[in-house]
Symmetry: D2
Subunit: 360 residues, 4 copies
Amino acid sequence: MRMHVQPRVGVIGVGYWGSKHVRVLNALERVSSVAVIDKREERLGALSRSFPSVRAFTSLEMALPQLDAVIVATPPTTHVPIALKAIAAGKHVLVEKPLATSSAGAQQLIDAAAEQDVVLMAGHTFEYNAAVWRLRELVQSGALGDLYYIDSARLNLGLYQSDVNVIWDLAPHDVSIINLLMGRAPSSVQAWGSRHAHRRFEDVAYLRMTYDLDVSAHIHVSWLDPCKVRRVTVVGSRKMAVYNDLSVEERIRVHDKSVSCSVGETDLTQPPMSYRYGDIVAPFVPATEPLAVQDEHFVECILTGRPCRTDGNSGRAVVEVLEAAAQSLQSGRPVLLDETSRSRERFDAGVTAVSSSRGA
Amino acid sequence: MRMHVQPRVGVIGVGYWGSKHVRVLNALERVSSVAVIDKREERLGALSRSFPSVRAFTSLEMALPQLDAVIVATPPTTHVPIALKAIAAGKHVLVEKPLATSSAGAQQLIDAAAEQDVVLMAGHTFEYNAAVWRLRELVQSGALGDLYYIDSARLNLGLYQSDVNVIWDLAPHDVSIINLLMGRAPSSVQAWGSRHAHRRFEDVAYLRMTYDLDVSAHIHVSWLDPCKVRRVTVVGSRKMAVYNDLSVEERIRVHDKSVSCSVGETDLTQPPMSYRYGDIVAPFVPATEPLAVQDEHFVECILTGRPCRTDGNSGRAVVEVLEAAAQSLQSGRPVLLDETSRSRERFDAGVTAVSSSRGA
Amino acid sequence: MRMHVQPRVGVIGVGYWGSKHVRVLNALERVSSVAVIDKREERLGALSRSFPSVRAFTSLEMALPQLDAVIVATPPTTHVPIALKAIAAGKHVLVEKPLATSSAGAQQLIDAAAEQDVVLMAGHTFEYNAAVWRLRELVQSGALGDLYYIDSARLNLGLYQSDVNVIWDLAPHDVSIINLLMGRAPSSVQAWGSRHAHRRFEDVAYLRMTYDLDVSAHIHVSWLDPCKVRRVTVVGSRKMAVYNDLSVEERIRVHDKSVSCSVGETDLTQPPMSYRYGDIVAPFVPATEPLAVQDEHFVECILTGRPCRTDGNSGRAVVEVLEAAAQSLQSGRPVLLDETSRSRERFDAGVTAVSSSRGA
Amino acid sequence: MRMHVQPRVGVIGVGYWGSKHVRVLNALERVSSVAVIDKREERLGALSRSFPSVRAFTSLEMALPQLDAVIVATPPTTHVPIALKAIAAGKHVLVEKPLATSSAGAQQLIDAAAEQDVVLMAGHTFEYNAAVWRLRELVQSGALGDLYYIDSARLNLGLYQSDVNVIWDLAPHDVSIINLLMGRAPSSVQAWGSRHAHRRFEDVAYLRMTYDLDVSAHIHVSWLDPCKVRRVTVVGSRKMAVYNDLSVEERIRVHDKSVSCSVGETDLTQPPMSYRYGDIVAPFVPATEPLAVQDEHFVECILTGRPCRTDGNSGRAVVEVLEAAAQSLQSGRPVLLDETSRSRERFDAGVTAVSSSRGA
């Protein structure tokens, strides 16, 4: 269903992320009006002071008839019921990560959106980050050589969520980035986690994902670390790249160094490795705001009918990994992801669509 | 067996670490002479140029009669046979980490040294590092509050070993540091590992150790990382500390911040956590060279008969963890460490001895 | 003249800084409405999209009757005529730094504001920065010992101004910070400067100011540096402090180290100095936005009639230093600041007033 | 005078730098023996422990007959008399920076060495630093575009010298680097300096040098700074480079960014500048030890008779700048360097000789 007029967009839940969406939507030309929906009146008041033209609602039911699209930025466990309500009302929906807290829920959203012919988009912000795309280019072009492994860390003190553990809160970013870099979903997942400052939810966790072609990926997420870290390291047989999202001028750094087995390798008392050291290059990456790019893409998809870069399938692929991680946390064993549920064709298709549109 | 004259010390294996021992021993006042033993004549030649007074041998058998003590700095799998030979000849022995590549081998060394009444010391250099002791003080004094977890990373490009994987090569440092901080050995160990640039040996690995009182410890070791990292993070309920061995002026940084569950905790839609942010303090840590402190301690133990800070039991405790990690790598499951083998009494005793002697 | 209703505030000139004022004023509770005045209609359009409730004017004359106060954020050489026009209309005025491009101009503003009994405030943002106040406390409390010197650097690539050189553009920040730290104006000024990428205006410059008690202060300002730097180093006989405005968590770092002449000092072949090394402490500094604190203070002064922290005299004191620097640039010699023009009593008084109100 | 046998080299003065020379010479193949000369017996004792084969003398007179060459590493004011004594005895001489503390003294050394036909070399270590040569290549090849300016900082807490101020102690490094980059000596020099922790000698100083073609260079040297800094920034019209000697992996970083005047430049209310931002590249620079390269070059010149890279003229050119800086410190005015004394032909010739020999 393609819209022919500029959409009226509502943001449901105006906490930390919801407020950012309001600011961003407010500055988008192709959004005709912005509304906020939240039960917490003091939040609505604060936003109204900064954005006097934004309309505020305390009830979704009252707001929906006056909107064309919504962004769901409420706690994760409420994503599915709220998004289903909006879809049922024929609204386009962007759901903050994670799309759902179960793959069944994610599938419900996909099916409902297909039936209503509305846009369903997962808020995987990092897939709208210029640095992540630069990293993807490095991987996909073969510039790094054969891909060896990916290691990702997303650490800070806080912000604890009220209804999910740190894996469901932070790892969606890393999983969506790594799936994007790999062009596919992993085949198995393991997880370690511990609870420290919170009784019910793990606040420190480590994930290990295995992809085809013997590539492994590790994710370290933490709400309880002294240092803020947002880093993805990608190591290949020829070069190594580090993406540090906290760096202003050098978000991507490519280290032209590598190690390889020496030919011959007869003398086992000597490590049979040879090392190569070269330049370090930080390519220029334009400083666009990923959330603005994402929300503009949402509006674009609503207006043109073109497929979303991070559609429901992409969102479900991430949820499946998190679900497998939760199982592994219980069992202490690796969890295989089901072949069919990995749904490679559709996932890859989505990526290709984005990639080609990007060059236009 | 206490020596009454200054020992003649030989270094067996003069690669990267062995050469450092030669330099350090050469400057120790209480060492009467230094010898080097290595089959590689070009190594001996290079050392002789820098240290003309050092005697060089290509055979251990020829060297032993002229020595009182040896430092074994050969590849890990040769540690036990070489050290046994030296012990059998009545020599005091310092074995580079890991003490052995099996706990049975470690026990053989302990038994042989006891029988011959010679000093057996494990080269856990970091236990002679002033920053590590400062970190231990922070943990043991309760300054950090209740201990939550420890996270350690030891990464670089290279140096690949010829006979063991990255866990046996690098993790001995982290395990010995963490055991020292905890005052005990862990109760269970898990490991993830991957082979990338090397066919037979894992070059990237992650360990998880569980200690009593619900403290978990994670170790990330890598021969294949673009960035050199030597970092231990210790998080407690009151403060958090980071030990960065690569920092010149701020090896230890204590972050006075924390998160805790708010009292009441009635509104589950709000994360019921409160955060506290305070100063960051980098205490002054004197710039001693740990290897020199260690080798001097070895000579001291030889001359005075006092117990070693990192004795055979301490070395075996580390080996047991690595052995369990190797099993976990195979099985994909956590491995429990045997209660008896954890030998807490003796291990703690060793620590106390050091601690008290330190204040003297 | 104390206002009894919330002021209507206009921002004149909505470039980089002007737009920030608009955002900040827009969120202040005690501002009844915000207007923008600029000849560039595309700027007005962009701001209106983000802040639909803001009224836009292309002419100051049309705007003034509908305002109670203005913030002058136009190019420096226009500050005095525009501010005089607003003062003549009885409006309260906050003038961005530098207050004027001549001390005579600054005095005109002071006199006019006194006559009209309106608030005249200089936009010395850094004097509303919590880190600067923390630094001042360190200096004034004697925690650093006897003050030796201050060294300040404010470097980046761009943003070149159209009507003044880099000294008039960037050094007002440093001079106002240093005057605040010292509690007085300098007694002499020297300057070095060079033109590189710009034909008419120096884009790299160095200032040296001498204060009483043998304290010297150096300022390095540049529009043409590869690295962004905003740093003030303050060195005393007991401790040294570094204020790095670009650091998120450690804007102030206090190094507890020093050097002193050894007693005796008889052997002149030995450097007769002794060094002391201690902890490094980064005190927690709250993350307030200085521009918001400043603009709120402006509104507060309008409503309560209390004296401004950065009043006209404070603004003129900074202008006098810059004027002297311009003379030194011509003559290649130090320029003494006139005793009377240094007007210490009033300047110090202003500082005290702020300081005491801060504790309330 | 070309030597046909490997020289016996003595190091006169074995403080911080002298001891480094001993270590380096000790490992050079083409040095037949190393001796140390110092009145301080405890220094000789310490060195003898580390290097038992080194012969120790407490008197220069006794040592000279047994040497072919000397390295003078005593306090700066003693350089000329000691070096003259060695030259008079027909010894080749390497004098630590500064070559002399007056240009007359430097000339005396040059004349004496010419008369005796011995090698006279200035210990400008940084001219043997691979990173400095990489920087020179960037400048000389035009990769940076037209050279705009150079800014250098060499800061730390200590080590105060006993007989000269911080300019004579640290600035020789910066001046020799900048002269090398420029291929010539400056035409004028200014200096600012202050005494803080030391009564007689400036411990913080700033130099400004003007070179032909409107290039300016600034040097900040300090014995009294909380942070260790060794940085040279070189800014051109096309690119900018930073040389940070404290960085392990990125000693040189080239920023591909620039600013230029827009064509037209009609609207004076708009800054008429356009900015260009590109990649940052840290070229691989091999990790050679400059002091070892330098001392080996000294031996090479002794054995082959080829001209020194940092000969007496190069040393005198640096001394002339420092002398002019001392005058400027007194007068508060710029000091012009005499055309003849700048001796460009010979200086440039020396540089070319090195440069071409380097490719061999």
